[in-house]
Amino acid sequence: MSDRARLPLWEVFIRPRNGLAHRHVGSVHASDAEMALLASRDVYTRRGEGRSIWVAPATAIAASDPDHKAEMFDTADDKTYRQPTDYHVPEEVGDM
């Protein structure tokens, strides 16, 4: 086994300079959380991208099953009334 494969995988989330929420940016291999934070800093914030980093063990992320895509997501496709563009604003309302 290579050195890299022996190290656990961590998912990396970064809060951008002007952003409010942390966003997933990628992953790193590291022996533990502290080293994962350092590695994330070096891999993902070299160009001033971030102000805060979260790391989480990749094994702690529960993911939806791609096989369930149809029942999970397709059912939203024909419900255009959930989109603001589905509504016509009468002219009498004027600027909203």
């Binding site: 050195d3 890299r4 533990d32 502290e34 080293m35 350092l38 590695a39 800093r41 070096d42 070299r46």
Partner: protein, 251 residues
Amino acid sequence: MSDSALFQYVLGLADDQLVLGHRLSQWIGRAPILEEELALGNIALDLIGQSRSLYQYAGELEGAGRDEDTLAYHRDARGYLNLTLVEQANGDFAKTIARQLFYTAMAVPFWQAMTASKDQRLAGVAAKSEKEAAYHLRHATEWTARLGDGTEESHRRMQAAIYQLWEFTGELFEMNSAEAGMAEAGIVSDRLSLRDIWDRTVNAAMLEATLTRPADSWMAKGGRNGLHGEDLGHMLAEMQSLQRMHPGLSW
């Protein structure tokens, strides 16, 4: 104090950063994992950036028309004034980390003190370098702990690296009379005053890493006078080859 003494001093400081930065850059393509390759590359770039500011200032102090490239690429090992610690070959990853630990444990308090320099240029470089060095130290201490307190093999290699490099740590706190005078005048950091902080940092790092601190014995010296080991000549030959073949070449 003469400009010439300050020139020598700034040149030595610039050489420390360039030589260590170049050493770290030699890991590119060879680092144990991709993440560490980027980490070492980042640190190398920080150090080379610091050296550029210092070489520019040194060139102005000297006033002989030598710019940063001339100073970096057109001096032989005998003209380099860096500490012998930073020129030591990379060895295995443990040796590189030990070198980082010993150097940055000094660099952090050194730059902190230098931010108060009466020399505005040096204070400016120090303000930027202080933050960079703080990260370099964190990187080195975290790795020291994991290698020292890791597997049997990593412990053995880390301890061997500590013993191997120990003799180059005495020079970190050496000052010649010109430098002592500049320290007295508030222009440069007093290296003697860094010793206690360095001891505390290094002792704590070794304790956490279950490593043994070597007994103080013979210490290498001479780097500031241009007296170096064989390693530096080989490193410079490679680093300078392009500029020596095509002087003035630029990107």
